[in-house]
């Protein structure tokens, strides 16, 4: 397979020849009659799964089918934050592995994903919240994950312009994960697509799944808008639309689809170094390398398949921003959009077999799927290749609600709109 290695030398060489020698980043493949493994969904998780199937598990005859184009779904619609500051034992090793994979990703896939470990700071605003954050930080450190509890003076030194004297929500300090940060989201899709393609994975765009073909209790292939494609094993990685695809296989999932909005302001000079979250509401913000403030808050709170949001949440997010850093009040909003989230019943994902032989599911990422992309791909590939869960993803079972082993990080109970 023709491939081109990216480096400073390739950039200089192309500059000298007027950028006429760049090759397509991946092949736009047409479907073959059958494959060993088909991954449904050409988002970050699907592409990462295909990549690790080929690289880590040495498998071939793999295809990724995508109904639209690569990077056109949630992998290109999120606020690009990566971190591993989860608290529950089922979550910490998984998200920490993901952060470690982020740290080595660019060398691994030879693609500049702009991984920037600029720090994630969660602010606390009361004594009780400080205790809760201390507990979370201790849980992280016991698992070997970095966490620092900062007092107000330390936060003031980092971010002198926050509203510390807010009458209702004074800032007392924060829990900082220095290894957290941001990653260029589109580059993650493109980089994984290129790396998978170089290992022979067929990436088939504009190919929508319309049904499954079965022989008894075993899947034998998928019906698509580009015809039937046979497969021995099929993995679904279509968060946002998991219920729609699973319904074609006769499954009903513990998932609701909800809209989450994100916002980008006009570009301004360097202002916020890392990622900052407001602990008294739901508001998180960072600044992109282009200068735009990238921020968001709660999901809209009711089932939706419309990729756009409603005004009450816009107001709520902006109120959070103004309470935290009033000086952004005169910055103009450039773009606002919505994406559809797989909100699971406990706020945690699912990476598991389905009751149908040969059909595997990767779903329920709520609004935390982006940071999980590398580990999700690795664990889903492990499950499909070896037919057993990866040791760090054993908690993400589809039947955990039946057996009472929910992984409820927020302690909200089975209300997807509250996670």
């Amino acid at each position: 397979m023709a491939s081109q290695r990216y480096s400073i030398f390739s950039v200089i060489k192309e500059a000298l020849v007027g950028h006429t020698g760049w090759m397509p980043t991946w092949r736009d493949a047409s479907p073959k009659a059958d494959y060993d493994i088909i991954i449904i969904g050409g988002g970050g998780h699907g592409l990462a799964t295909a990549y690790y199937l080929a690289k880590t598990f040495g498998l071939s005859r793999i295809a990724v089918v995508e109904k639209g184009w690569i990077g056109g779904g949630n992998v290109g619609r999120n606020t690009t934050i990566v971190r591993s500051n989860y608290m529950l034992p089922g979550n910490i090793p998984f998200y920490e592995q993901s952060l470690k994979l982020w740290e080595g990703l660019e060398q691994d896939i030879n693609y500049n994903a702009m991984v920037s470990q600029r720090g994630v700071l969660n602010l606390y605003h009361s004594d009780a919240q400080r205790d809760a954050y201390a507990r979370r930080g201790n849980a992280l450190r016991l698992h070997g994950v970095d966490a620092e509890l900062l007092d107000q003076a330390a936060v003031r030194k980092m971010l002198p312009f926050l509203n510390y004297e807010n009458g209702r929500f004074p800032i007392h300090g924060g829990l900082l994960q220095r290894r957290g940060g941001t990653v260029r989201h589109d580059a993650v899709a493109w980089g994984y697509a290129r790396a998978a393609d170089q290992r022979g994975v067929d990436i088939i765009q504009n190919c929508e799944v319309t049904g499954f073909r079965r022989d008894g209790n075993r899947v034998t292939g998928i019906q698509t808008s580009r015809g039937f494609i046979g497969a021995k094993k099929i993995g679904m990685a279509v968060a946002g639309n998991s219920s729609r695809v699973a319904t074609m296989a006769g499954l009903r999932l513990p998932i609701e689809s909800h809209a989450l909005q994100a916002f980008v302001s006009e570009s301004i000079k360097p202002f916020i170094d890392g990622v900052v979250t407001f602990g008294a509401g739901h508001f998180y913000i960072s600044q992109s390398d282009k200068g735009g403030l990238v921020f968001g808050g709660d999901i809209d709170g009711y089932n939706s398949y419309a990729s756009r949001g409603n005004l009450p949440v816009v107001e709520d997010v902006c109120e959070g921003g103004m309470a935290l850093m009033p000086r952004i009040g005169r910055v103009r909003l450039l773009r606002q959009w919505g994406g559809i989230m797989d909100m699971s019943m406990d706020g945690s994902p699912i990476i598991d077999h389905t009751p149908i032989d040969g059909l595997y599911i990767n779903a329920g990422w709520c609004y935390g799927g982006f940071k999980a992309t590398p580990a999700s791909g690795l664990c889903f590939a492990h499950l499909i290749a070896r037919d057993e869960p990866h040791p760090i993803a054993t908690a993400y079972r589809l039947d955990r609600f039946r057996t009472g082993h929910a992984v409820d990080e927020k302690g909200q109970g089975p209300y997807p709109n509250l996670h």
Binding site: T247, E256, N303, A306, E315, P414, N417
Partner: protein
């Protein structure tokens, strides 16, 4: 998005609290299939793109529970009824069919 409350009229969305799929109903605990039925009732949802029956509570208004029919791809509200009326109609159907 606005919801026309049968008691209060056309009201802003942020007066209401969402409570999910209105088609799931509490199973009969005395049935042999009760365990499966309760798991499905508590955790499993149809969640398809299209028309959706859902419960809303008019928290900043008349405190009525409503069943709203709404399209999930357009957010268009198709119908609003009092949840009490929907439940009574369901009861009538069940008794009528028995």
């Amino acid at each position: 998005m606005r919801i026309a409350c049968p008691c209060c009229g056309d009201r802003s969305l942020d007066e209401f609290i969402y409570h999910g799929d209105a088609t799931v109903t509490r199973p009969d605990y005395s049935m042999p299939s009760a365990l499966d039925d309760f798991i499905a009732y508590t955790y499993e949802r149809r969640n398809l793109a299209g028309d959706h029956q859902e419960l809303w509570y008019h928290a900043a208004g008349c405190h009525a529970w409503l069943v709203v029919a709404r399209n999930l791809t357009t957010h268009r509200v198709l119908n609003v009824s009092l949840a009490r009326d929907v439940a009574l109609a369901r009861l009538d159907t069940a008794e009528g069919g028995a």
